[in-house]
Symmetry: C2
Subunit: 171 residues, 2 copies
Amino acid sequence: MPSTSSAPSAPPSAASPYEPRWLDEEEMAAWRSFVTASNLLNRRLERQLKEDSGLSHTQYEILVHLSAAPAGSLRMTELADKLVTSKSGLTYQVTQLEKMGLVGRRSCPSDVRGVFAELTDQGRELLREAAPGHVALVRELLIDVLSREQLAVLADGLGQVSARLRLDDAL
Amino acid sequence: MPSTSSAPSAPPSAASPYEPRWLDEEEMAAWRSFVTASNLLNRRLERQLKEDSGLSHTQYEILVHLSAAPAGSLRMTELADKLVTSKSGLTYQVTQLEKMGLVGRRSCPSDVRGVFAELTDQGRELLREAAPGHVALVRELLIDVLSREQLAVLADGLGQVSARLRLDDAL
DNA sequence: AGTCGAGAGTTCAAATTTGAACTACTTGCC
DNA sequence: GGCAAGTAGTTCAAATTTGAACTCTCGACT
């Protein structure tokens, strides 16, 4: 009896109005490995970043997104979107980063309600220091484990999945 | 200038002793889509499960793993491993589930230190109710978005990634 | 037997995350 | 102009997560 993660082990003929389409072995394996890899990877990156730079993965990603943005700054909402996190969660983390001197807040000229999070020089510098180690680990644990083709499929497939999810959310 | 998530936007010729191998566009895309899809998916599943069954994704997975285990029971440590979570985190969640009457604790006969988490009838029942909706959503958002080949690659590739991570952790 | 390092779970305090409520501002439209 | 509906961010309380410290037990070895 296959050990599944999304269904009780042996779907009995019972309970729900329409018999759902359970996941077959391959589908189950894909889903399982996705969840597991994601969790394991997160734990590892979290640990490494905290040890090497004192940043959480979330904080690191905030810096990255800001550094990639036009003036090293992004509106809070836009940033929250890119990070896929809650607005309140972002408010919290930006405050933390502000205390650390890595990020600043400026108010938006065109919209009084708006707030820009902005990378400080110190933030840029810390990111510069933190990036190599982080990238190296991502490479070691994920990128270099997969072939070029596998990477392409990952990018493609999960890109579609993300796109679909973003659409749904926008409803 | 490519927007990367693991490196500052334009890797300047600076800072670290050995110039790291940055991620090229494809690699970056793969990594980005993985992280994003994972976050989006988690948020969605979390929401759905909570609404439909009052369970968090973590709690749901605990029930699943237990239901798939020999006597509907697993040692705490083993369960924590499967879930990829901290021991203390598991202690907390098992206590929650216990309060809800979905899981029980039995002590291990052969090892006084050991504790089994065990699915109750009520737990089995709730899982039976929760599973169809959850599976349907996983299918809709991930499985059915990908082709059979893409799924195979996912399972394979991420399986390897997980295996590697598990090995490393065991060091 | 006696001891010492490792393992199993729990407890604890601190950090994080989240949704809901709230404030203040914008916008589209009469 | 003036309003209703929607937006941007923050605040707040509650739930969760984590690592470190701690307790107790196992096991191997002397």
